[in-house]
């Protein structure tokens, strides 16, 4: 047991007041969410604002399904960034690789929990999906590829990428030394090992990318293959989901990276080059998504069937217009901020953070716009129109899940370096 205390890198083990405050808020949200879930388990799905469409005039899928798609979408960027670092050799992005991978893992777990929140029989869902899942159903891809395959692949990537830092952390006495040793699993940071890791990370990244595209496309196909749902049945759903996933995920990473840089008091880590790359990627993906949206609306408005035209009108100028335009307006604003920075060549972190937040506002709004209007106003038979107002239970569960995500990241940050440790770790008096 060494007498000299060591300040572990990136605030590991150092509890600050600000961190405690954030943990308290996150834990409170988790508590509220858990309470709401208990109510939902007691009363049943009737505790939500969801109802049958058709004669009952409700929306069958609402907040939960929108957030399933949102959380899985956010997870896209994390592992994609990590993969692109390897495949395109973007070394200046390396500092954010770990937080990006962690974001992927956490938001996939949140996506899985949102599924459980939505199912009428969640325990049966777990048992029966493993036992009976049918490949013909788009949910098979969502369940196996997204939640099991994609999550596991990200965990493998995360584990292997963290071995070096675990080895470095294990050099110094700390309460979690056993964890670091176990994680490092014999890693010695020799040049041979490092080369091996670079090699395998490249192939792993290459293997994960098609899995990603399949995962997000099947999620899009859950909606896109519904011939009987005006507004859903479209070949653009699958690619649109992939692009919007990128928008929300990269927006999230920008915000997280900026938060880390600020809260850890780091002057130039991650570098501006990393933020610039993320901003450029967000700009391109945002423009592509606006393009997709325009094509969708033009197609529906010009030659869509009666019901599709009605829905397009509803979303553009009718009841759902405020949600749609908030979402697209946020994206337009984000693109404007990013384009002005790109054109002037001067990137600023506050503006990037604003763009990231706006991009996520768009993602949430657009997910809701995809899911709900088709159910309340898109019936092919002449039932009346429906209405969907989420109850506090739904909102609380979603907030609780977000709190859980934040809590997980906050706790992780104090147990393991959130960014790659530059070797060697200097011994510093506290």
């Amino acid at each position: 047991m060494s007498g000299r205390a060591v300040a572990l890198p990136y605030g590991v083990g150092r509890i600050s007041l600000g961190w405690l405050a954030l943990v308290a808020i996150a834990a409170a949200l988790v508590g509220v969410g858990a309470f709401a879930y208990a109510i939902q388990e007691l009363e049943g799905p009737i505790a939500t604002g969801l109802r049958d469409w058709g004669t009952m005039g409700g929306a069958t899928w609402g907040l939960y399904v929108s957030f399933i798609v949102y959380f899985v979408g956010v997870s896209f960027a994390g592992i994609t960034v990590a993969a692109l670092i390897r495949i395109l050799g973007l070394t200046y992005l390396r500092p954010i690789s770990r937080v990006a991978e962690l974001l992927t893992i956490v938001s996939l777990i949140l996506g899985a929990l949102s599924v459980l929140a939505d199912l009428g029989q969640p325990l049966r869902g777990i048992a029966n999906l493993f036992r009976y899942a049918r490949p013909q159903s788009p949910f098979f891809g969502t369940f196996t590829m997204v939640i099991a395959g994609y999550l596991f692949a990200s965990l493998v990537y995360f584990y292997l990428a963290g071995r070096r830092d675990a080895y470095l952390m294990a050099q110094y006495p700390s309460p979690l030394r056993w964890l670091y040793r176990a994680w490092a699993a014999g890693y010695q940071d020799t040049p041979e090992e490092k080369a091996r890791h670079e090699r395998i990370s490249f192939w792993l990244a290459l293997g994960i990318l098609p899995l990603l595209v399949i995962a997000h496309s099947t999620l899009g196909l859950v909606f896109g293959l519904m011939g009987g749902r005006p507004g859903w049945f479209s070949a653009l759903q699958a690619p649109g989901f992939v692009v919007l996933a990128g928008v929300s995920g990269i927006g999230h990473i920008i915000v997280l990276a900026a938060l880390l840089r600020w809260s850890l008091g780091l002057r130039d880590q991650p570098e501006m080059a990393a933020f610039r790359w993320l901003g450029q990627a967000l700009l391109v993906l945002g423009i592509i998504y606006i393009y997709f949206t325009i094509v969708e609306m033009v197609t529906a408005g010009y030659a869509g069937r009666e019901h599709e035209q009605r829905l397009a009108k509803l979303v553009l100028v009718g009841y759902y217009a405020p949600f749609f335009w908030t979402g697209m307006g946020a994206l337009g604003l984000a693109i404007g901020l990013l384009a002005s920075q790109a054109l002037s060549g001067r990137w600023s972190i506050p503006l990037l953070v604003a763009s990231g937040i706006l991009a996520n506002v768009t993602a949430v709004a657009k997910r809701l716009i995809i899911v709900v209007p088709s159910l309340t106003h898109g019936s092919l038979l002449p039932y009346g129109i429906g209405m969907y107002i989420p109850t506090w239970v739904e909102g609380a569960i979603i907030a609780g899940l977000m709190g859980l995500g934040a809590l997980t990241i906050l706790l992780f940050m104090k147990a393991f370096p959130i960014m790659e440790v530059p070797a060697p770790v200097e011994e510093v008096r506290p």
Binding site: R131, Y132, A133, P135, Y159, R196
Partner: protein, 76 residues
């Protein structure tokens, strides 16, 4: 010269992919469009989807095998 660790990793990868392919095409519910009878609603082997997921996991574990394989000269 392919090292032992590379062979091991390739073996694990192949096993994983094989399990994925077999459980998807042979063991899971048969494909039929349109699904006209009860047989399209049941997997040919119960828990075939679990096997599929395990196949995916094994395939990715090949990377862990590659990195964690003991050094040359060490005992297996």
């Amino acid at each position: 010269m392919i090292s032992r660790r590379a062979w091991a990793a390739l073996l694990v990868l192949t096993a994983g992919i094989a399990l994925m392919v077999v459980s998807y095409l042979v063991l899971a519910a048969p494909w039929g469009f349109p699904p006209e009878s009860e047989k399209f609603s049941n997997p040919r082997l119960a828990f075939a989807p679990l096997l599929f997921i395990i196949g995916v996991m094994i395939a990715f574990l090949a990377a862990v095998v590659y990195e964690l394989w003991p050094q040359r000269g060490g005992k297996e």
